[in-house]
């Protein structure tokens, strides 16, 4: 099958064109010579199936960034039959350098001058025919967003693919010296073919920036936008989550349980409370992820995310992070999983990993449920809000400490120079596609892992068969008592330890697990816990719950996004260790002070 590689600088609308070409039917795959996964899709062009690969955006073929190395290795080990080079027409003045570098590789090239709609708006004119002649390449004006000119590009590709693949220069590196010519060649071509008005007429962006990036108003507006985003995703998401939960419960009661009666009790438990609950756990994330990326498409594609980076950089650069990381950290307070997936916008791997170390410490809405239950059980209504607020402070403080500790480990070596693109609004199609692609990615990557984890916890809390589920006689109970020496100094008893094992799956089920463990529910449960624990023990338990492993889905996402088991293990070990230390310090400190 013939292969087409999509190449271009960042912010050229490359992914939009890729999605238009493949209709969203893309999948991630591994390629020889490189460690990261690339999106690719198969489409029918003329009479043949061809494969299109979306390569990361690069500035320079000889650059040192992670993405630039990936592209170089890819081109070296998987010579494409054709390179579709995408250029942002509004920035053609500088983007032509990459095109000329690629041209020197003697590849089959078709050029798409994208964002022709924007260029027209800005008064930039390109003599495409002249440029085609001067460069001896097929060149087309297109708008990937609206589809203009796309047919012509497709025809040109189909035609160009009939020619044999030219050999590619053996040593990419030796091409570097020829960059001198590129400079003069670029001047020559641009002079004859491109006209850019002296003053760009993008008043809208200037006006918006003067408000959005205002020295005083900028930050309040930023937090306002974040608040709306947060509410939008998680308030809208909740009814959908409940709807899905109700539907799955109904299926369980109406269809699965009646069928399952033919099996012995233990098999029923394994299938329903293990496997089926695993599926339910996965499903609960679907609406949140879809909504998160619908909204994130707006924030990102509108250009506001780079503005957020601008506003927050003064603070974040001291932590070794960037402003986009701060946005993801904030979103982590709703749910860690999409926030971790959202870090993909950061192109430097080191900075991305550092952000992924920090996000799991955000107090997500699932943990909040546990805290609300415990504060209601143990604190007066006056003290409860203060207790919750203090937990948020702990969450922020541990995030900052984590960033400071690990910032040298994950040192960003890439130059931090970001484009601030003009404000745009994504089309509904772009937003939907984004939500759909991300949720599919999550389901493919995380489902097996999460279901396996839920089944494992079910086995631990239900075996051996003679034991009462979740009691001290189960394997979980045995682990609980084996771990007692570790948890006793934190004031966490064996029942709560078993609940923490459940909490490993998801914090949403901790209260449910406690109900099973104590054989009580609702007010009776909170009463019993209120009698058994004092506030120091309860707060210590909450601190531990806040900091240790967020949930299985987060671990699955850490792994699928980093693709590095050692990183996932480090993140887990760090959060567990930190949880233990903080709870220990708090519990022993409070006891030493006589509480």
């Amino acid at each position: 099958m013939k292969r087409i590689a999509l190449l271009g600088m960042p912010n050229t609308g490359k992914s939009t064109l890729f999605n238009r070409m493949t209709g969203g039917a893309a999948r991630v795959g591994n390629w020889p010579g490189i460690t990261v996964e690339l999106l690719s899709g198969k489409i029918l062009l003329g009479e043949d199936m061809v494969e299109i690969i979306d390569l990361p955006g690069i500035y320079d073929l000889h650059g040192f960034s992670d993405d630039e190395q990936v592209v170089r290795h890819f081109l070296h080990d998987n010579v494409p039959d054709l390179a579709l080079v995408i250029v942002n027409t509004t920035q053609i003045e500088r983007q032509m350098s990459l095109l000329l570098q690629l041209k020197q590789l003697d590849m089959n090239i078709v050029v798409a001058l994208n964002m022709s709609d924007e260029a027209k708006k800005f008064g930039i004119t390109v003599d495409v025919q002249k440029m085609s002649e001067l460069l001896e390449l097929p060149i087309f004006l297109v708008s990937a967003k609206y589809g203009n000119g796309y047919q012509e590009v497709q025809q040109a590709i189909t035609k160009a693919l009939r020619y044999p693949t030219p050999g590619m220069a053996e040593q990419l590196r030796s091409q570097l010296e020829q960059d001198e010519h590129i400079e003069s060649e670029m001047q020559r071509v641009l002079k004859h073919t491109v006209q850019v008005p002296a003053q760009l007429s993008d008043n809208l962006t200037e006006k918006l920036d003067s408000v959005m990036l205002h020295p005083v108003l900028g930050l309040p507006i930023f937090f306002g936008v974040m608040y709306l985003l947060f509410q939008g995703v998680f308030l809208f998401g909740q009814p959908f989550q409940e709807l899905i939960a109700t539907a799955l419960d109904w299926v369980r009661g109406a269809a699965l349980e009646p069928i399952m009666v033919i099996f012995p009790q233990s098999v029923q438990g394994l299938l329903l409370d293990g496997v089926y609950n695993g599926v339910t756990t996965v499903a609960a994330f679907v609406p949140i992820i879809v909504l998160f990326f619908l909204f994130m498409a707006i924030v990102e594609d509108s250009g506001y995310l780079s503005r957020a980076a601008f506003l927050m950089d003064a603070l974040m650069s001291r932590l070794g992070l960037d402003g986009r990381g701060f946005v993801m950290l904030l979103m982590g307070f709703g749910c860690n999983v999409p926030a971790l997936m959202g870090t993909r916008v950061m192109r430097s791997r080191a900075m991305r990993l550092l952000t992924m170390m920090v996000i799991p410490l955000s107090l997500c809405s699932a943990r909040l449920q546990v805290f609300i239950f415990f504060t209601a059980a143990l604190f007066s209504p006056q003290a409860a809000p203060l207790v919750l607020f203090s937990l948020y402070l702990f969450s922020f403080a541990t995030a900052i400490i984590t960033a400071l500790i690990f910032k040298n480990q994950f040192r960003n070596s890439e130059p931090f120079v970001l484009e601030l693109p003009p404000y745009r609004f994504p089309t509904a199609r772009q937003m939907m596609l984004r939500g759909w692609l991300e949720v599919r990615h999550f389901l493919r990557r995380a489902t097996k892992f999460i279901v396996a984890g839920v089944v494992m916890v079910w086995l631990l809390t239900n075996l051996p068969q003679s034991a009462v589920p979740a009691s001290a006689d189960t394997f979980a109970g045995m682990i609980g008592s084996a771990l007692h020496p570790f948890f006793a100094p934190l004031g966490i008893n064996e029942q709560l330890t078993i609940a923490l094992i459940f909490g490993f799956i998801a914090k949403e089920i901790v209260i449910g697990a406690l109900a099973v463990i104590y054989s009580l529910s609702g007010d009776a449960l909170s009463g019993a816990i209120g009698m058994q624990l004092d506030w120091v023990q309860a707060y210590s338990f909450m601190l531990f719950t806040l900091l240790y492993t967020p949930c299985l889905a987060t671990i699955a996402t850490l792994q699928s996004e980093s693709k590095q088991t050692s990183f996932t293990v480090l993140s887990l070990a760090w959060s567990l260790g930190l949880a233990w230390l903080v709870s220990f310090a708090f519990y022993q400190g409070a006891r030493a002070l006589g509480y």
């Binding site: 600088m9 500035y59 320079d60 000889h62 650059g63 040192f64 960034s65 509004t90 920035q91 003045e93 500088r94 350098s97 990459l98 800005f122 930039i124 850019v196 760009l200 962006t205 920036d209 990036l213 020295p215 005083v216 900028g218 930050l219 780079s306 980076a309 601008f310 506003l311 950089d313 003064a314 603070l315 650069s317 070596s413 890439e414 130059p415 931090f416 120079v417 970001l418 484009e419 601030l420 693109p421 003009p422």
Partner: protein, 77 residues
Amino acid sequence: MSAHTLVSLHPGDTATIVSIHAEEALHLRLLALGFRSGKQVELIRKASFSGPLQVRVGTTDIMLRRTEAAKIEVCRV
């Protein structure tokens, strides 16, 4: 006409790039973003708390940190 770096400009100032004293990786990136000797650059704004700068080169708006901007020598016009 005296030589300055990009950091010393005030919002609204336009200057000509004289030279770029950056390590290779940053230098390549700046070139690709349109920073070249002889090119005009406009400082749009500076973020509060010693935050980054927003500059315009050609048709592209770019944010860069002050440490990086200090490596770009300019000449006010």
